[in-house]
Symmetry: C2
Subunit: 249 residues, 2 copies
């Protein structure tokens, strides 16, 4: 339960960067966001930020690391429903719904801003921010559908390939890629719980992708050696992410 004061200059906040990708922001908008991103805390891996059954309020923004939405079965099996990567905001103003149907927790060490309900309301006063947050939420929902397709109708190798392509697009949008590689600070077990497989099977499927020369992984950095071919394998069409940049660099 490390809790460090969020010091240092907010490094051109990823949330800001992401929302700017949806449309021009005014000075006042960026100022409000900067304020939010200044108030972050470092959270260790494996920490729940809000739990199933809790009453949701405010928002949670991730500025570093990977967090996720997940549910557990009684036997301990976990299904991850979404990744929250830097720039992603989890809007807990669910208005009508007063209970979380899932848990949000960190997969890696994360830098996180917990946004109080009043602050969240203030943010939504800014039309451009409100629009951006709404668009982000709609994209999250489209992503959820894509994940359902992924698990329901793609093979193990395809599932991983698709996930890696998606992450390249999402992380590039917040400037966290270098070429076709990015930090993927999660374990194979996490990947398994994301794609509905076993960690053993993930391991073998990763091996296959490596053998095919499609990816490389050293330490926690993932490189897509041939994004075009990887996208083809996964049948990846990035439209649902609503980013105008072309897929492969």
């Amino acid at each position: 339960m490390k809790v460090l004061a969020g010091g240092g200059a907010a490094v051109s906040g990823p949330v800001l960067r992401k929302l700017q990708g949806f449309g021009r922001l005014e000075e006042a908008d960026t100022a409000a966001l900067a304020l939010v991103e200044a108030g972050t805390r470092l959270v260790p891996a494996g920490t729940d930020l809000i739990r199933e059954g809790d009453r949701p309020e405010g928002m949670i923004a991730v500025t570093e690391g990977f967090a996720c939405r997940y549910k557990l079965r009684e036997n301990g099996a976990r299904q991850i429903m979404a990744y929250l990567v830097p720039g992603d905001v989890c809007d807990l103003d669910n208005g009508a719904l007063n209970r979380m149907d899932h848990t949000v927790g960190t997969l890696s060490t994360c830098r996180v801003a917990r946004i109080m309900p009043e602050t969240a309301r203030e943010l939504r006063q800014h039309p451009a921010l409100a629009r951006g947050l709404r668009k982000a939420a709609l994209i999250d929902e489209a992503t959820l559908r894509e994940w359902l397709m992924n698990i329901g109708r793609r093979s193990a190798v395809e599932r991983l390939a698709h996930l890696f392509c998606e992450l390249l697009v999402r992380l590039r949008a917040v400037g966290l890629t270098s070429g076709n590689s990015y930090e993927l600070p999660i374990t194979q077990l996490d990947l398994a719980d994301t794609t509905g497989m076993t960690s053993v099977h993930v391991n073998r499927s990763l091996g296959e992708l490596k053998r095919e020369g499609l990816i490389e992984r050293k330490s926690k950095r993932l490189t897509l050696c041939d994004p075009a071919r990887l996208a083809e394998v996964a049948e990846f069409r990035p439209d649902y992410l609503h980013r105008e940049e072309p897929f492969s660099a």
Copy 2:
């Protein structure tokens, strides 16, 4: 491409009934809804109502039959992402997003209301309706997450059991159950594309549920012979549907 004029008295519209389940409606609200439900058309099974890539606008309401959201792979594989049962409304006012990322189509013959953008805007003028629609949308999203859990982390038999439990709750909310049975006007192939399996495997799994005495199916009517035990098998917790009625009748 049968298109019949939507005659006859709107039979206490399922949309109305569903939204009433979320909170009291004023006279004016119900009147507006009644108007909508009067303008329905009969649509044959297998008809796309709006396609992936189309520009979404207005709303689509289903008052009879089963429709669904789905996507296709290049090889023809289909993944169904959601069911639209009577009372369900598909809000296409996606504001920011200007392309459908999936298709909405009928699984059975359906009675459907296509709601023009202006009409949709009028409906949203009514605060109670707007709230109801918003709540419905949030529940749809929670349902999507539950489906991801279903496909990712449950066995074939469990997936079907879970789906059948969910449908009992949803259809009961609009008065379309009698006891623990309801019309399920879809094929085993549809069930397969819903649960990420093969129709052959669905057939065998259904057989297992029957043999266990958990369900019965004559013609298109499904009966949950022992809802409590079925829910236990599926680990079904109806919280995400936000209906206060207890699960088993």
